[in-house]
Point group: C2
Chain length 167, copies 2
DNA sequence: TAATATCCGTTTGGTAGCAAACGAAATCGG
DNA sequence: CCGATTTCGTTTGCTACCAAACGGATATTA
């Protein structure tokens, strides 16, 4: 374990080990989990400040647009699920996107409790313009990883998602 | 690349490739970045629903308590920095923690613009009880990773943090 | 088929989070 | 010194997010 590889982040980690080293703690898991969260925050902030703000979109708004683009028209509950948002939150996100003209809601005739959400023309145009640029940002953020490392990272995270997600 | 390793998550990924495959996109980066975010959400939710809610703490509140535990009394700006929160957000988190009696704010005599934040006795007791349990949760969430893989994951994420964080 | 239970999206009430404006306090320049 | 600038933490206004309560619509069952 080359523990001195990156001088920028490990100082704090070493301090923590000194402070808490007396206790029987699982440092490997601690560092893995806390870095997941820190990385996610950094990535989100960068994307929001960069591309997304130009289009007036939050991370959640972008995700919703993107899911609708890939999957097409969707029922509200499924959309919430796919976007990994509670249904209450999704209502708000869709409301905002509707105001912006990116999305439209359509009542389902067969079951009047239900609603489907779909992209408008403007929404489609926006996501088609936006996504390639977003993807460039993604590339920048993992620029220090080789292709193999990216796949490795994705695979390791996949396992965490499965474990942590099955609450 | 064994792309069929985990049947649970890859279906959507394959669909995406089918839908977007015609475009010249960087899928490796896309999957790495989006999995970072999904993993972070899963991890946070699980921790909040599990241990943290028992102590009436949010993720941010926990982080703040933890940082104060490791680093000791801190000035507000440094604390915000270390917790990776804006100073405005930190004011709110500290206000909540203060209400709960976990933390106290002390004006700095030498510079009356400044304030230091520190754990109260109850705060210290709480984090000392809480952290080992939180750490067990962390362990559970990466239970499907070997020790080497955990360190690998932490290291890959460290590089992402450095790149994405230097905005 | 009427009462009950379940299901669906929205609303509500709360915390969290950010950026930008703010006001008080310290520092700097002349 | 004294005015202008910078540096703090807080406040403000906004979006996002969740859980739980809600109310209308559909299913179930007796």
């Amino acid at each position: 374990m080359q523990n001195r590889a990156d001088p920028r982040l490990l100082d704090a980690e070493r301090l923590i080990q000194e402070r808490l080293g007396g206790r029987r703690l699982d440092f490997d898991s601690m560092l893995a989990v806390s870095n997941i969260y820190r990385a996610a925050t950094a990535v989100r902030r960068r994307a929001e400040k960069g591309v997304l703000s130009e289009f007036g979109l939050s991370w959640g708004g972008f995700t919703t647009l993107w899911v609708l683009w890939v999957w097409g028209e969707m029922q509200s509950a499924d959309l919430a699920d796919e976007c990994d948002l509670s249904k209450g939150t999704l209502t708000g996100v869709v409301k905002t996107l509707e105001k912006q003209g990116f999305v439209k809601r359509t009542p389902v005739a067969a079951d009047r409790r239900k609603v489907t959400v779909s992209l408008t023309g403007a929404g489609l145009e926006t996501i088609e313009q936006l996504f390639p640029r977003f993807n460039l940002y993604e590339g920048e953020m993992v620029i220090n990883l080789s292709a193999t490392e990216k796949r490795e990272l994705a695979e390791l995270l996949r396992r965490v998602i499965v474990t942590a997600g099955s609450s």
